[in-house]
């Protein structure tokens, strides 16, 4: 068995929040602003609520099979072969997420701070950090996330507070953006943003008990929703909707515009740290779940054997998109829009099959 150690609720929340909330710092949030106009924050709350509903089904599924993690649940429900297919699909999806995080980050950082550095050089540093985090196992991943959780939150809070003079209530008008139908449709489509809570089901045995699983999953979704909604809210408050949909990285554009007199301006330094660290962590966590799922499917004892090959894959996958446009308009957009099918669709399917075929897990302790 893969030895993953034990993590607490706070660590689990940090892990999932890093996976979910980091997305607000990247270019994909621009697409949401474009789609929803002034109501980005409302839309993302709709997504959050949808994700909570989706997560409820995951909880139902997992509580049917106490003591089993997602991969073995799939194998129990769908049978060994189909279960492997579904689990691998998830593994690949985590991997893809990780790669896209890496590339999105690299592109953004190239635009805003390192125009001359080749992406591969930045990617090498990025991946070195990922390898270090992954090498020491899941406990290390979780603790690193937990350690950085407060500084990152504090960094975001500083940005939120410093940007207060830029806020203009009237930028939120008209309140409903492109209309309630659009809010709900976009919100449902992009609920995958918060789908990462599913990952907890992969490592459910590290979370001491299903009670912790529920608690940390739900809290993480709510927390991420709060962070992302705040991000959109302050962004919508500062920029009118037609300008808001222009910026490559909305929150960065906001940070650059903060100014308090002659000395207190140019706060991107804070942002750059928040940005890099959460980018690295989000990518590392996604990659870890890819590794973990893969190891569990093939009964691999030590995930470290896979780190090097997987990071090589990440490296090459993330360099596939040619330009930032194809990343922003196509790849990431597709992941966000169709991700819910993987995050919520497969578990829902598993639940349905389990209910129809009447499969239940063995009672705990038996």
């Amino acid at each position: 068995m893969l030895r993953e150690g034990k993590i607490g609720v706070f660590e689990a929340i940090s892990v999932i929040t890093f996976m979910s909330a980091t997305k607000v710092l990247y270019s994909s949030s621009r697409a949401l602003v474009e789609a929803s106009g002034t109501s980005g924050w409302l839309t993302t709350i709709v997504s959050g609520v949808t994700a909570l509903a989706g997560f409820y089904f995951i909880i139902l599924l997992m509580s049917r099979f106490p003591g089993q993690e997602l991969v073995s649940v799939f194998e129990t429900v769908f049978g060994r072969f189909a279960g492997i297919i579904f689990s691998l699909l998830m593994s690949v999806f985590f991997l893809l997420n990780s790669a896209m995080f890496a590339r999105e980050f690299i592109e953004a950082v190239k635009v805003y701070a390192y125009p001359l550095s080749p992406p591969s050089f930045l990617l090498v540093i990025f991946i070195l950090a990922i390898i270090t985090v992954l090498y020491f196992g899941f406990e290390c991943v979780a603790r690193t996330a937990a350690l950085f959780a407060w500084p990152m939150l504090a960094g975001l809070a500083v940005i939120v507070i410093l940007a207060v003079p830029l806020y203009e209530m009237s930028n939120l008008y008209p309140v409903l953006g492109h209309g309630p139908a659009c809010i709900i449709k976009t919100g449902l489509l992009r609920s995958s943003v918060y789908g990462d809570a599913l990952a907890l089901a992969v490592v459910i045995n590290s979370l001491q008990g299903s009670e912790h699983f529920k608690k940390s999953g739900v809290t993480a979704i709510i927390l991420s929703t709060a962070i992302i909604a705040t991000g959109f809210l302050i962004y919508n408050l500062s920029f009118p909707y037609y300008i808001a949909s222009e910026s490559t990285i909305p929150v960065y554009a906001l940070t650059r515009s903060i100014e308090y007199g002659r000395f207190f301006q140019r706060f991107e330094a804070i942002f750059l740290f928040v940005w890099s660290i959460s980018g690295i962590l989000a990518s590392a966590i996604n990659l870890y779940f890819a590794l973990s799922t893969y190891s569990k499917v093939f009964r691999i004892d030590d995930h470290r054997a896979l780190i090097l090959p997987q990071t090589v894959i990440i490296f090459s996958v993330s360099l596939i998109p040619l330009d930032i446009s194809s990343i922003a308009y196509e790849h990431v957009n597709h992941i966000r829009q169709y991700g819910s099918a993987i995050y919520f669709g497969i578990p829902l399917l598993a639940l349905l099959v389990a209910v129809i075929r009447g499969i239940r897990g063995e009672q705990a302790g038996a």
Partner: protein, 428 residues
Amino acid sequence: MRKKTALLSLLLLLLPAAGCYDRREPDEIAYVVAIGLDKGVTDRLRLSLQIVRMADESGARGMPGGGGQDTSPGDEPIIVTLDCPSLFTGMNMANSSISRKFNLMHAKLIIFSEELARSDDFEKQISGLMRYIEIRRIMHILVTRGKAEDFIRENKTLIGKNPPKTMQMLTDSSALTGMIPDANLFNFYNDFKSTFQRPIAILAGLNTFENLKNPGRGEIQESTSGGNYLAGELPRKGYLKRELLGTAVFNGTEMIGELNGTETRALAMIRGEFKRGFYTIKDPLKPDYLVSLEVFPARKPYVKVDLRGETPEIFVKIRLEGDLLAVQSAENYEKPDMKPVLEQAFESEIKSQVDSLVAKCQKEFKSDIFGLGRSVASKFLTIEDWERYRWHEKFPGATVNTEVDFIIRRTGLILKPSPLVTDGGVHK
């Protein structure tokens, strides 16, 4: 183990060799503090860049003498002017003479000449600027009467020798006097593409010192608010020709007019950006005397919108408060029953200023630079509805009612002045 360590350290050693792409020493950079844009003669654009002089003070004299007498030529700005197709190409062209890489990140001012601002090219220039990483939206936007190049040549430091500080403090005076708007690129660009309102910029100019007439050549103006001038017209003399006063008004594409200092204050009051300012009005009881007041906003202006009628009806209430600075007539305006007299006089003065400004914007400029559209927008639920309403077309016909509310809070060092005396020593 040892081999692995060796391999790893070799890889790590390769990293620095491969890295450092974006590294640039701070002393290899030419910091641009002001960008001037004119209509070009041999090309589309005439670009002027004002650069901070890196005259090294520490080098020759060893330890800098703790800010002692500074006789280095650091006050004379370096200015590069050239004709070029765009700002970016222009910087490369300028590098043929200037050895360091230009960096616009620390630019404080971007200056358009009035000629350029009033032409079709202005729109192209603005939207061409915003994409570039080095253009920070916290820089202030100026429109100068005359040429931007000339303005930059006169853009000198006087009290201190620190150009960036001077540039920054220059625009900070908006909070001090209200005579110029606080127009940075962030706000300008937000309004430039706006469906809510129209953008404004700071009006600048060069004063030739000719308005300060010799005795016997001019006459005393009837108006007393002190701001009825445009930039470059102030009756003054001394050192710097540079002058920032008033507002440049734009419609969606180009500059369409100017507001003087007084109008700029009225504008700021409606926009809710007014910070403070000294006002001088005629004494309501003794018109020969003047009363000076320092005025602050009491609260944000209250705006009410009614869209039921044919044309939108807008009600604006400006709420101000102030301190007495000077009462030449020594009237006892501090008394509770006398205070309203002064307050009402001031209210009607401000109301007339505001009303005439609104009328000017509706009739002459046909531009909502007040941001009234933002309040109108709150009546709509979706962007589609709002954009269908076409506020910019509705604004000139809108009914705008204003009301000014003013209260004197404090009276300075004197709470009850004794009356002036006549020649005979009797109180008037």
